[in-house]
């Protein structure tokens, strides 16, 4: 269970995350939605200890992320941020293999290599495995990064915009994989998503943020209503039920 208590993060005088309290139950997929600058990414990076909070605490299964040793946390929680520029030149396989570092300390076992190969195959990176990251397209690179994080094989997986740069087919594949991780392996997936329809089709819980605060949270059915979405995005969004799924239409 992830417990966020009164977390505040300021840049200068503006509170980007303003006293957020939130509990994320173990298991299932949670999507965080909200307009640009709502504080979604900052909240995610505070939860994953990449950014220290100015106030409040975050605990993951009772471990305070600010004080728990990094290597212990790395075996329980994995995170991927949006911007992943690297100055080192790595091949896809080398990058994905880094996901095993918390478990193997850099000396990969045969089992580690198997997991790496499996992740590479799943994301259809087999042909690209020995190519360098800077020779790939944005979407291919994004798949490689997610493969690394999934290779970490943690109970909690936090993803900031995992669908960045992905085409439709790979987006759907990515979401199905995340769904399956939650359903089959009992993992807890928390992600920031911009496309409300992907959030609607693949998550159990949706958390909506606006100006640094959580303004609504609930099951997908509760959240995918014109009233809630209108309040979150300040935009008229029609919600239709198509094939048992709630789809928001906002394009015109």
């Amino acid at each position: 269970m992830i417990e966020i208590k009164d977390v505040t993060k300021r840049y200068g005088d503006t509170a980007v995350v303003d006293g957020v309290s939130l509990t994320i139950a173990p298991g299932g997929v949670t999507s965080i939605i909200g307009a640009n600058g709502a504080g979604k990414s900052t909240l995610l990076s505070v939860v994953s200890r990449l950014t220290p909070a100015d106030g409040g605490t975050v605990t993951v299964d009772g471990m305070d992320v600010a004080t728990t040793p990094g290597d212990r946390l790395a075996r329980r929680l994995a995170v991927l941020r949006q911007d992943n520029h690297m100055s080192v030149r790595l091949t896809v396989r080398e990058l994905v293999a880094f996901g095993r570092f918390p478990h193997s300390g850099g000396r990969l076992t045969a089992a580690d290599h198997e997991l790496v190969d499996e992740a590479i195959d799943y994301f259809e990176l087999g042909d690209l495995a020995d190519r360098h990251l800077d020779q790939l397209s944005g979407g291919q690179r994004q798949r490689a990064y997610v493969a690394m994080v999934l290779c970490q094989d943690t109970d909690y997986v936090l993803l900031d915009e995992p669908l960045n740069n992905l085409d439709m087919r790979h987006s759907v594949q990515m979401m199905r994989r995340l769904r399956r991780m939650a359903d089959d392996y009992g993992k807890t997936v928390v992600m920031v998503v911009h496309d409300i329809n992907f959030a609607s089709c693949h998550s159990d819980t949706i958390v909506a943020m606006k100006r640094g605060s959580v303004i609504a949270r609930g099951t997908t059915a509760e959240m995918m209503t014109p009233e809630v979405l209108n309040a979150v995005y300040d935009l008229d969004i029609d919600v239709h039920e198509i094939g048992g799924r709630r789809i928001g239409v906002y394009f015109s």
């Binding site: 990094g70 946390l73 992943n84 690297m86 100055s87 030149r89 290599h113």
Partner: protein, 338 residues
Amino acid sequence: MTAASSITTPPAATSSSARAARRRRERRVLTALALLAAAAVAGFCLIGLAGNWEYALGIRFRKIATMVVVGVAVAFSSVLFQTVTGNRVLTPGIMGFDQLFVLIQTLVVFLFGALALSSADPRLLFAGQVAVMVFFAVALYRWLFGRRARDLYVLVLAGVVFGTLFGSLSSLASRLINPNDFVVLQDSLFASFNQVDPGLLTLSAVLVAATAVWIARLARRLDVVALGRDHALNLGVDHASVVNRSLVAVAVLVSVSTALVGPITFLGLLVANLARQLTGTFRHGTVLTAAALLSVTVLAGGQLVLERVFTMNTALSVIINFVGGAYFIALLIRESRR
């Protein structure tokens, strides 16, 4: 060595065969570099020995020992600095760290006078200077690279400005001290491979060896730190602690090499990048070894060619800085095209 390392059973899976091929290539490169370095060292010691060879060999041994110590120090400090700052264009030399050490040396003479210095234990004095250097180098780094990632060009500019500033301050201070003190200072500043204090050399060798072992034990964590702060934290590596330790090591190594032979600004840049290119890997165990071997090869081989082939008395650092400077400009241009 190529024959021995290429005779291995072909692995079954493609992924493991690619891995094995990569590792074989790394090993081949390292072996070749080791042989090259050994050849340069042997050549420097043995070629053109004449007359009282016992005496000549003694002098050459001391020179080559200095080169090995300086070579390893420059190579390790540059690779570390590049990893910690996450770029391949900057080195401690370019950021003016060695000029900082010269300034510290000068200020010590300026403040305490040469008499106090010549009566003090040179090793104690050196240890004191290194301590001051560690403090200021870490402070300078924190200030430059602290909060947010800065633009590469701003950093290069800052490095040039700081290098010049420290250099000018040292020359100002050396003009203000009395002429007798100045001679003592000059003696210690314009040291070259030809005239190194044996006591200082031993101390330096011990310091460099200890630092190198310390860093080698960090190698795998450095691999992760090279991915950047966020990835390192995610993978459970204490980024801040690895960076701090690396910086202390860089400061110690820069102090040692500068105290022994003075600033060689671009050597580190050359060997660090060449090592990364030749080995084609991110692994610090391999890159550090390759860089150290290259560094020794360049110093010993360069000095050999300079002394025996061209019978020139020019300082090797002039040539290294010429080649390295050109390479630096090429790197900057390539970086700006990205």
